[in-house]
C-alpha cells in the first residue's frame, strides 16, 4: 500500500491525528494519559448542574397527607382548629331558614305547603268538566279556569318530582289520574272555544247571503227585519220560517239577557244559574 505512505509523508499532521484512535484501539497503553488540571466545564451552559445537594430547600419535604405524616414542626395552616364550626346535632336548636312567606313560588305547593301529599288526598277528586257544562260559561270564566288547571298541574308536578327523588314508590298512579282529569277539563275548554269560533264563522257566512243583515258598518243599520212580522212575532223569535235546529230552544233559553254580536262570542249566563258549581275535592 503505497498511497498511505505517500500521504503520511506529504501531510504529517493529518497522519498524527488519525493514527491516535487507531493505536488506542489496538493498544490502550500506548495512548498518552489525559490529565486535566481544571474540570472540563464550558463557560456558558444552559443545562443544569448535575451535582445535587444532599437536601433541597423545601421545608415541606416529606409531609404527606396520603401517608398521614402529620404536620411538620412549626407548620402553620390557613385554617385554625379553633375556628371550625361545630355541627348542631339537635334539630330544635338549628336556626330556621329565612324565606318570604308571600313568595310566588309558594303557589307550586298546596295550602299546607308540604313537599308531598298523601296518595289518598291526591286521589280524592271529582270528575272533569264536560263540554256541555262549559258551554254556559263566559270567556272570563273559561280563561280563569284554564289557569286554575295550569296551577293545579304544576302542584302535581312538584309533588311527583319529590316522590321520584325520594324513591317513595307510591303515589304516582294517583298523581297521574289527577293530572289526567285536569287535562280532560282543559280539553273541554279548548273544545268549547273551538265550537264558538266555528259558530261565529258559520253565522258570518250566512249573514253575507242574508238580505236582512248588513255587514258594512258604514251603510245603515246592521239588521233590518223583513216587513211582514209584527212586534209580537219578533219578540217570540218567529223571524225564521224554516224549521229551527233542535238545539235552538235550548241555547236561547240558556242565554237570556245576554247579547250576541257577530264580533263577539255569545256570553253564557252566570255560573251559578246553569252549570253546576265545582265542588271541592271530597
Amino acid at each position: 500500500m503505497s498511497t498511505p505512505c505517500l500521504a503520511r509523508r506529504l501531510c504529517p499532521r493529518y497522519c498524527l491525528q488519525t493514527a491516535e484512535p487507531l493505536f488506542g484501539f489496538l493498544a490502550p497503553s500506548v495512548l498518552p494519559k489525559r490529565v486535566h488540571s481544571t474540570p472540563c466545564i464550558s463557560r456558558f451552559s444552559t443545562s443544569q448542574n448535575q451535582s445535587y445537594p444532599r437536601r433541597d430547600r423545601n421545608a415541606d419535604r416529606g409531609v404527606s397527607a396520603v401517608r398521614r405524616t402529620g404536620l411538620r414542626p412549626r407548620q402553620t395552616l390557613s385554617v385554625k382548629k379553633l375556628d371550625l364550626p361545630t355541627p348542631v346535632l339537635d334539630p330544635s336548636k338549628r336556626s330556621k331558614v329565612q324565606v318570604d312567606e308571600d313568595h310566588g313560588l309558594w303557589q307550586f305547593f298546596g295550602t299546607e305547603r308540604r313537599a308531598m301529599a298523601l296518595p289518598e288526598e291526591v286521589g280524592a277528586h271529582g270528575r272533569a268538566w264536560t263540554v256541555e257544562e262549559l258551554r254556559h260559561k263566559g270567556w272570563d270564566d273559561l280563561h280563569a279556569l284554564w289557569w286554575v288547571c295550569v296551577k293545579e298541574r304544576n302542584r302535581i308536578k312538584t309533588q311527583t318530582y319529590e316522590l321520584l327523588r325520594l324513591e317513595a314508590g307510591y303515589g304516582e298512579y294517583e298523581a297521574e289520574e289527577r293530572d289526567k282529569t285536569i287535562r280532560d277539563t282543559q280539553r273541554a275548554i279548548k273544545a268549547v272555544l273551538t265550537e264558538r269560533w266555528y259558530a261565529w264563522e258559520d253565522a258570518r257566512r250566512l249573514a253575507v247571503d242574508d238580505p236582512e243583515v248588513n255587514l258594512d258598518p258604514n251603510e245603515g243599520p246592521a239588521y233590518t227585519p223583513t216587513v211582514g212580522y209584527s212586534e209580537d212575532e219578533l219578540a217570540e223569535g218567529g223571524v225564521e220560517d224554516n224549521a229551527a235546529p233542535p238545539e235552538r230552544g235550548v241555547k236561547h233559553a240558556s242565554a237570556d239577557g245576554d247579547s250576541a254580536r257577530p264580533g263577539e262570542l255569545p256570553r253564557g249566563t252566570t255560573p251559578a244559574q246553569d252549570a253546576p258549581r265545582a265542588a271541592p275535592a271530597a
Binding site: 253565522a203 258570518r204 246592521a222 250576541a260 253546576p276
Partner: protein, 97 residues
C-alpha cells in the same frame, strides 16, 4: 355525504336524527319554537309577535271554580250552537252591532 354500511344504517335508523346526520337546512330545535330570526351578520332579531305572552286573568285568587266537578253531579246533555242558530239569536237579542 357518506352513507353508512347496511348493518350500521339499520342501527342508525333507531337513533334520533341530529343535525350532524342530516343535510343542510335541517332544523331540529328544542321544542320551544323560534322567537325571531337570525341575521346574516350573526345577530338575532326578536320578533315580538312571536314572543309568548301569557295573560293571567285578574281576580284569579278569588276565583272559586276548581278543575273538578263532584262526581254525583250528572253531566247535562246538549249540542253545540250552529251558525244558523247563532244568527237567529243575534237577530232576536241584539241585531245592532
Amino acid at each position: 355525504m357518506f352513507s353508512p354500511t347496511l348493518p350500521l344504517f339499520r342501527a342508525l335508523r333507531r337513533l334520533a336524527l341530529t343535525t350532524k346526520r342530516a343535510r343542510k337546512g335541517y332544523y331540529k330545535g328544542n321544542r320551544t319554537g323560534s322567537m325571531g330570526w337570525h341575521t346574516k351578520h350573526g345577530g338575532y332579531k326578536l320578533d315580538f309577535s312571536k314572543i309568548r305572552t301569557y295573560v293571567v286573568p285578574e281576580g284569579l285568587d278569588s276565583f272559586n271554580l276548581t278543575p273538578f266537578v263532584a262526581k254525583r253531579i250528572e253531566p247535562p246533555k246538549g249540542m253545540a250552537m250552529r251558525g244558523q242558530s247563532y244568527l237567529d239569536k243575534w237577530k232576536m237579542e241584539n241585531g245592532q252591532g
